[in-house]
Symmetry: C2
Subunit: 508 residues, 2 copies
């Protein structure tokens, strides 16, 4: 049965860059960003004293939109499924109508100008659907403006927007090749003064989630400075100390060499320092220890508001669960086997905990569940080495709502659901004390359960666990011939014993 | 439009191992091995003096078949789409009918016993559809028997089968923990004497393609000893010298420790030495310099004979082309963009060759074509870093018909179709002199053409190339606004110049 594949495009006309993003989805099952074109257009640069976009910038912009329109036609996305949204630079331009008319005439695209509230709201939706934020602040720093949204119990309660974007701040405070300490201080002072319009932000501390290219680039730079492996910046926390270090490093270079800082993209080199100073000021004024980065942005907010409607606000119930199911559903037609593996794994995990065989925390239980749901996604690449492919897919896709360390743990547990001696390899720098034992426990459980589900027919319906005298006995409950399942599970006894320090017996 | 997805299972009841393999295909577009269960059943072990399968071995076999039947039911493969085939050990057993009856009664599977000719023929089909062999010999070494097929102009012309499988030879010549030089010599002498029944094999030399678990394990072991990176053994040539080294290494260990040789699977440890000696004898008697390994086997032969029917013999026209298209079609709904990128890339490549800008050989042209067709497969994983994902998918899937070095080149060209400075990293040991220049040329062409196809609408229909005075001019031919294409291609001028030592101009 062919399900409906929905394909939509969001065009984001930002002040620094334009971006066309294509999202594919099977509504109710999964969604995914599948294509993208990215151009540094910098329509917000060189606005004249009357607040008008320059002719040159408009030409670049219209040409880029023409390419996007071609692209949509060529890839079969009808105009009704393209949503083009413009933010600060275009919103605030004195000649914005002229630009919108040219854009429509020359590219055929209808550009919708978002209000400051709408822009902030889409940023909030992106953050609230890609992190576990319940209470705190969402900060979206763009090229033209910056938005902050106060979040209570996952709902947006207050919002504010300031013309404090990285391009604007660069042009106003850091126009030269070299940046002086004095200039940077003046910039930060300006930001601090502006923020007073949002008293709810001042000195509140707590959790701060950051969006936008500046935040993503800085997180990537901080990861590299710390020597951390990085399949992405999703969930990474950019600390106040790391931010100050980066400001110093960037300020020590002339503007054209700032792109040489590993992690900073060349197209962002000219405006990254101003963005860094803005963020530093926000952390200081707000009393935040750091910024938790999400890779989602305005574009995801726009897309998800459509996908999740009519939910109001359009939020997934549980971000961690939704991330795992979203990835699993992309690679499996149904999740019967995965759910049964997860079910049996958690049954045994819970029983072992009750029996005092382990005393691991609930995080471990969630990671075990996630790995059980995702252990076989790699079969989409190739049967051979599919455990390694599962690891690769999990690390590549990421799991919004989980930290980089947690994603790495899920990937490694999936990797070791068959073959090899569990370890972390180049992911070690992300790990904490005890994580190796966690990996061993979860991998051992998955290996045992995978044997129980070898026929993928759920013939082992349930498992009773008895633990005594240094032994653990699994009693398999089900119909039909359980001998192969029992024999297979027994063959994992050594792995189990190494993880739990108990001998394993399997009975039918 | 939902296309038909065909799912079939082949169950291979070999003398050493049983294996259930699931193949998915969209007939005429792609096929893929998507699932597998593998069990060391060793039904050919312990056959008594009357040539009867032992009760114990039959019990193991029937239990395993029961699991396979469960698996097929659970994964929705109807009985009519399961083909179970048995080879030497069962074929030659005095009590084979008893076994077949038990198998049918207890598992519901109808097992078809292949004749020696059929077994040889399926091996030949696997080899001829996964390598570029035109003239030479296909050798399939199993646990019970060994088949050789003489191939002329891709057709099987002669075949022979001997009871020289690795289990049989182990039981007869190497029954102890330790193997003496004398025993090994006797084994090789026995093989040489048996081979005389196929005079067409003696001293012919030329190309030898090898199938079967022994050959695959030895190839993997040889790769590791040579410190070569290996995403697989497909296309690897196991030289006569490497084989002798491995025989020495294996013979120096007691049987139970032979699985400790990296590359040798534990389940094969007991019989690998005998298999090595058999292969060594074949190389000596046949005058072959080495064995070219294919990962395809009897199972692929059985599957492909069904998929490619009514073609007779069921062979794809061009193995290299079929491999590339098979992989591309797994990840793309249509290949319009890919084919256009390939078309434009080859147009430019050919023109540059005529103009004397490069003098690369036809192999490079084929690799460029393959990389052009596959450069975007990684988008199936994630848009971000899709060039790296393309590399990963190409290396993971492999490309039958290409050598490991060639697969690595295709993967690296696809990797560098965007971003980064071309290089080989850990794949370097596979490369030859000049390969870095090859990579630079092909990657540069792909980058330029990718810009021409940025809208994926084929607006640049064709390219005229003029080369003079150290300059290369590309003249774009097409309809509509070519300015974005031109601008994008120009931005690749530095990469082009680094690869071809010519300045690049792009004109519309």
């Amino acid at each position: 049965m062919a399900e409906r594949l929905d394909r939509v495009a969001v065009v984001d006309l930002g002040s620094n860059s334009f971006r066309l993003v294509v999202f594919d989805s099977r509504p109710g099952r999964w969604w995914k960003r599948t294509d993208e074109i990215y151009d540094i257009v910098r329509i917000g640069a060189g606005v004249d004293s009357k607040g008008r976009l320059s002719e040159k910038a408009m030409n670049r912009a219209v040409q880029t939109l023409g390419l996007y329109a071609h692209f949509c036609r060529a890839t079969g996305i009808p105009k009704t499924r393209v949503r083009a949204v413009a933010t600060s630079a275009i919103r605030d331009a004195a000649n914005r109508d002229e630009f919108l008319t040219r854009a429509r005439r020359e590219s055929g695209l209808d550009v919708e100008v978002l209000s400051r509230e709408e822009e902030a709201c889409f940023g909030y939706l992106a953050a609230a659907n890609s992190t576990t934020l319940r209470d705190g602040v969402v900060l979206d720093l763009g090229g033209g403006s910056m938005q902050a949204v106060c979040v209570k119990k996952r709902k947006a309660t207050k919002l504010e927007s300031w013309p404090l974007g990285a391009i604007r701040m660069t042009e106003r405070f850091l126009p030269d090749e070299e940046a002086s300490k004095k200039q940077l201080k003046a910039l930060r002072k300006h930001v601090a003064a502006e923020l007073e319009s949002a008293p709810w932000l001042l000195g509140t501390g707590g959790r701060l989630v950051g969006l936008g290219g500046t935040v993503r680039n800085l997180a990537s730079a901080a990861q590299r400075r710390a020597g951390l492996p990085s399949p992405g910046v999703q969930g990474f926390v950019l600390t106040s100390a790391a931010l100050t270090d980066l400001e110093d490093e960037l300020a020590s270079r002339p503007a054209r060499k700032r792109g040489g800082v590993p992690g900073v993209k060349p197209g962002r080199a000219e405006v990254i320092l101003a963005g860094t100073a803005v963020l530093r000021a926000v952390l200081e004024v707000g009393g935040f220890d750091g910024i938790e980065v999400t890779e989602a942005g305005l574009r995801e907010g726009v897309f998800l508001s459509g996908l999740l409607a009519p939910a109001d606000p359009p939020l997934v119930d549980d971000v961690r669960e939704a991330s795992v199911l979203n990835l699993a559903a992309q690679y499996h037609d149904d999740l019967v086997h995965q759910e049964h593996v997860a079910h049996l794994s958690l049954r045994i995990w819970d029983s072992l905990e009750r029996a005092g065989v382990h005393s691991a925390d609930d995080e471990e239980r969630q990671l075990l569940w996630a790995a059980a749901m995702l252990h076989d996604v790699g079969m989409a690449i190739d049967y051979d080495d599919h455990h390694k492919h599962s690891r690769y897919l999990i690390l590549s896709a990421g799991l919004p709502g989980f930290s980089p360390r947690e994603v790495a743990l899920v990937a490694q547990i999936a990797r070791y659901h068959r073959k090899g001696d569990p370890g972390f390899g180049e992911l070690s720098p992300l790990m904490r004390d005890g994580d190796e034992a966690l990996l061993r426990r979860c991998a051992a459980l998955l290996r045992v359960v995978e044997q129980l589900e070898r026929s993928r027919e759920q013939i082992v319906r349930d498992v009773r666990v008895q633990a005594r005298n240094g032994h653990v006995q699994l009693k398999l409950i089900g119909e039909g011939d359980l001998s192969v399942a029992r024999w297979g599970a027994r063959r994992q006894a050594d792995v189990f014993e190494h993880a739990f320090r108990r001998e394993l017996e399997v009975a039918a």
